[in-house]
Amino acid sequence: MPPLFVTMLLTSFSIALCFGKVSFFSPISGNMYNIKKMQIVMPHPVSILQVISYDGNLFFNVTLDMRSAKNPVLLREAFVNAVKSVAEATGVDKEQKWAKELTKYSESKEWGGDDVVYSCA
């Protein structure tokens, strides 16, 4: 983590943003942002990432800013593939119960499965 002087530098930069009006160009959405208050200036394609754990289950959903993030289905597939690749790397996929479970994730019928993405963009 940054040493003290870097933290102080960042703090003074934040304070500068607080008092000044700075414009930044986002490489992703192509929008010009007018920063009037303290604000992070990077593009923000992922608005909310929720992971809730209950009763031994993990529930995930991601809200994307559709002005900069496209094809959310790809993100779902990417996550399932990521879990599979980590399971493979750790050798968990060799256990029968998890092999079945991992296969199920690709074919799941929950909300958001089967190319259904809830969006009003």
């Binding site: 993100l75 593939n81 990521a82 050798g91 994730y105 809830y118």
Partner: protein, 190 residues
């Protein structure tokens, strides 16, 4: 949980520039087993989850044609506990309080040249550095010093702004592993 999904979907519909994608429901035990199978017992479920999310976002941004180094938009808010001893409480202040400092860190998007295990090591060392950093303690001291000087409304406003700047709150509290029941009788008789 269906009620929760309804609320979440309603919230996602409120903003017409947003789209929500739901991932399959996964077993916590699977992530526990993955953590156990890793070399070195210090791997946690959090590390595995963060690794999967990092790989997924990296791959997703690749699909979109966005260079990973250009993406600084996925930020995690880590609530780091800084318990304050009662001797340091302000006058009129009582116990049962959260000595917590929110720290914002970017989600580490790893290079696709990494293997999963290398990526896990990288994520682990990154999170260890975050946890061992003195920044949360420093921020806690600054907050504690400024708190009596700033109006409550301003603090609330800044708190909301902080939450608007992050994509998620990343804590190490995974929630109950089994369905729980609230015992009201215990409360009544206690």
């Amino acid at each position: 949980m269906s009620l929760l999904y309804l609320i979440l979907s309603y919230l996602s519909f409120c903003d017409c520039n947003s789209g929500t994608v739901y991932f399959p429901t996964m077993k916590v035990k699977l992530f526990q087993d993955m953590a156990k199978n890793c070399v070195g017992s210090s791997t946690t479920i959090n590390d595995i989850l963060l690794l999967c999310i990092s790989i997924a976002f990296g791959s997703y941004f690749d699909h979109l044609g966005i260079h990973r180094s250009d993406v600084g938009g996925v930020r995690l808010l880590l609530p780091i506990a800084n318990p304050i001893p009662p001797s340091m409480y302000n006058e009129g202040e009582y116990g049962l309080r959260n000595g917590m400092t929110p720290v914002i860190v970017p989600l580490k998007l790893l290079s696709d040249e990494y293997t999963s295990m290398d990526a896990l090591k990288d994520i682990q060392s990154y999170m260890t550095k975050v946890k061992q950093s003195n920044t949360p303690l420093l921020m806690s001291c600054i907050n504690r010093f400024l708190q009596p000087l700033v109006p409550v409304e301003k603090i609330a406003e800044k708190g909301i702004e902080t939450f608007q700047r992050v994509s998620c709150v990343w804590s190490n509290v995974p929630g109950p592993f089994e369905a729980g029941k609230i015992c009201l009788l215990c409360h009544l008789y206690s």
